[in-house]
Symmetry: C2
Subunit: 459 residues, 2 copies
Amino acid sequence: MATERLVVVGGDAAGMSAASQARRLKGPQDLEIVAFERGRFTSYSACGIPYWVGGLVPERDDLIARTPEEHRARDIDLRTRTEVVELDLPGSRVRARDLDGGSESWTHYDKLVLATGARPVRPRLPGIGAHGVYGIQTLDDGQRLVDALERTRGRRAVVVGAGYIGVEMAEALVLRGYEVTVLHRGEQPMATLDPDMGGLVHTAMNRMGIRTVAGAEVTGILADDGRARAVATSAGEEYPADVVVLGIGVEPRTALARAAGLPLGPSGGILTDLSMRVRGHENVWAGGDCVEVLDLVAGRTRHIPLGTHANKHGQVIGSGVGGGYATFPGVVGTAVSKICDLEIARTGLRERDALEAGLRFVTATITSTNTAGYYPGAAEMTVKMLAERRTGRLLGVQIVGGAGSAKRVDIAAVALTAGMTVEQVVSLDLGYAPPFSPVWDPVMVAARKAVSAVRAAGV
Amino acid sequence: MATERLVVVGGDAAGMSAASQARRLKGPQDLEIVAFERGRFTSYSACGIPYWVGGLVPERDDLIARTPEEHRARDIDLRTRTEVVELDLPGSRVRARDLDGGSESWTHYDKLVLATGARPVRPRLPGIGAHGVYGIQTLDDGQRLVDALERTRGRRAVVVGAGYIGVEMAEALVLRGYEVTVLHRGEQPMATLDPDMGGLVHTAMNRMGIRTVAGAEVTGILADDGRARAVATSAGEEYPADVVVLGIGVEPRTALARAAGLPLGPSGGILTDLSMRVRGHENVWAGGDCVEVLDLVAGRTRHIPLGTHANKHGQVIGSGVGGGYATFPGVVGTAVSKICDLEIARTGLRERDALEAGLRFVTATITSTNTAGYYPGAAEMTVKMLAERRTGRLLGVQIVGGAGSAKRVDIAAVALTAGMTVEQVVSLDLGYAPPFSPVWDPVMVAARKAVSAVRAAGV
């Protein structure tokens, strides 16, 4: 059998997981692997950047799971600082540009993996290109911010957006000694939660000295000599800033895919089948932050950029490319985070998601404790649960509270995947001991209340 | 409708939960509730006793969820220090003895709840009745031990048995300043785990200064003037002890039920149906540590004394007694604990359980970290997984490691309940963020290895 060539576009989690898994299954005699990466780094934890910026993780390289050299040692022809600028699908080739030298060349492929990731949303605003304005998506982005923070003696930081990245970056900047203001559009920070639960995050942010401004519509970055000095909002206010961090989310980086005519979903991500093959393209796979994933609870695709999904996609793709078989069945929308000591988690549908999905539901919210109430250090844990009317099927869970709150959501993530009802959740055999849970786990307390709500709502 | 009378035998978790839930559903006009309790306390956390003994929980009363007075205020005729000494099922009545006054009387019931709990196994050994030998099952037991510890200036403690209670009491006694020796029969402590995982517990116990003696068969307690001074083993050794704590497990307290001819299972616990009615007895329910529960993975009943089950039983019984409907479908065998900072968890079947159940299986053990490896304070987490051959069905998980290990087992508990395969576990959408998990949760890493093991084992 002749040697096939796999070309991978993008050298972070999905791309290099795919390459590594394919290499595990097929040796260099059977499969040549060429991987293109625009940046200087590969296989790093983008999710870890806020902890590095905040100083909790001492070294940038701590975030790198596998260096370019390590990949090359495993017979992967990895070309960093090389950007793929065109996909020629009919010709089975890609055109790549050496970002340092400027030269371009075409590379033929038998199999193609697209793992181009996501990029921070940068609204077209006056001043958005000023120095001192940072998006945080790649390790190169993070390096630019860290360099700037070390170079300048800033005092005030403005974070635009209060999602996961915004909240984590706000905490990191506080740890760096900055006065931090977070401007966000919604009623409450952390709009991945319902506002009632987001309110708990708001309180925790304020408690650690972060100023939050709700309903803030940023209209521009005010700059002096091309350097940001303040953020302006539609309310006519100006928030002075030595550094501005954009945490308003990311969007799939799919210009190449779009130009090549690949199918994109409603959120702009590439659409794949369950084996992560691009729909309608036998020899093209896509994974990571550039694809949409099936939301098993809502019954539709979504763009959910998360390292854990990207790694799984890579495994599945690498298996397929290597002649094996694996699938990625979809997600239930689990995400966890923290601000200071407050852990934040969600899975499944928020109220607005359930409405959008055409579901009728009841909600139940309870506050209990993360350990037995009498155990030293017991902290509050608030659980909100959504259940379908009539059937009682679990639809979503949000948890905010002390230690153990974040991963508590995994109970619900598994239950959602299994299609359990809230009544079944009440009967689960969950771990109990006083240092870890009250005798009724808070998730079960919420489920009990949800059972009552389902009954009370009738048909 | 005439007033019915509910009689509850036993005033801790199951009994008083049943009484409280029944009272919620039916007022005193419809249902009179009489509850008998041998001890002085009601509705307390027996699982919390080691933390009180160790001084982490300052006050005994912190462990009491609801006092006798609080129950009485809710129209429950609670009689403490009153022991039921006979069940007359044909006559629908119970005979109770006032333990202080000594008088006895019969009480008629329409509905009967048996919640007589468990008692520490006390092997018939010479000297077992000596002063200074303690079983720890009830709050009265705990009070006796705490009184003794405060009264005497002991230095050396011997704990017999290295299950949950034994290990927790060993730590409590270390916190009290004792030199602690734990004598246990098996190869490793914590026989609720397979020995390879128990070895990790062994190391942690030794690290905190607890001496452990494996394969130790206790032959008697040596006493001076009726006061224990040492524990003797079949190896001819003597372990000096100012205090001896028995942690060799408990057995269902079912003398009453046995005398009344109620059906008992292979472990000596009362057998009930799914609504916690005693099999074949329309008006008699039983729950808590005196019953056997259905092990959904092994397909048989077991005696699993745990406060969390007892509370659920009480809810189910109270619903049934009160004219509602609820069931307790069974357990998967989840249990969590800790020694010092090491968290210990299991669910489903150990190797020996799977063999006993007639199952063929593969195992996979991995060591990862509880957070992203680069996150400060990352600690090891070891996960062992059992999967059925051919089908790949998840059979059991054991986890030992740093913070977050114990409740991690809930993922597997839910997956077991749902009958998932290890391949399905690999695809779960579990919470990921660097402070809480590596990008591949350790449970998924174990599942990936188990998938390979299932494939390698063939049919």
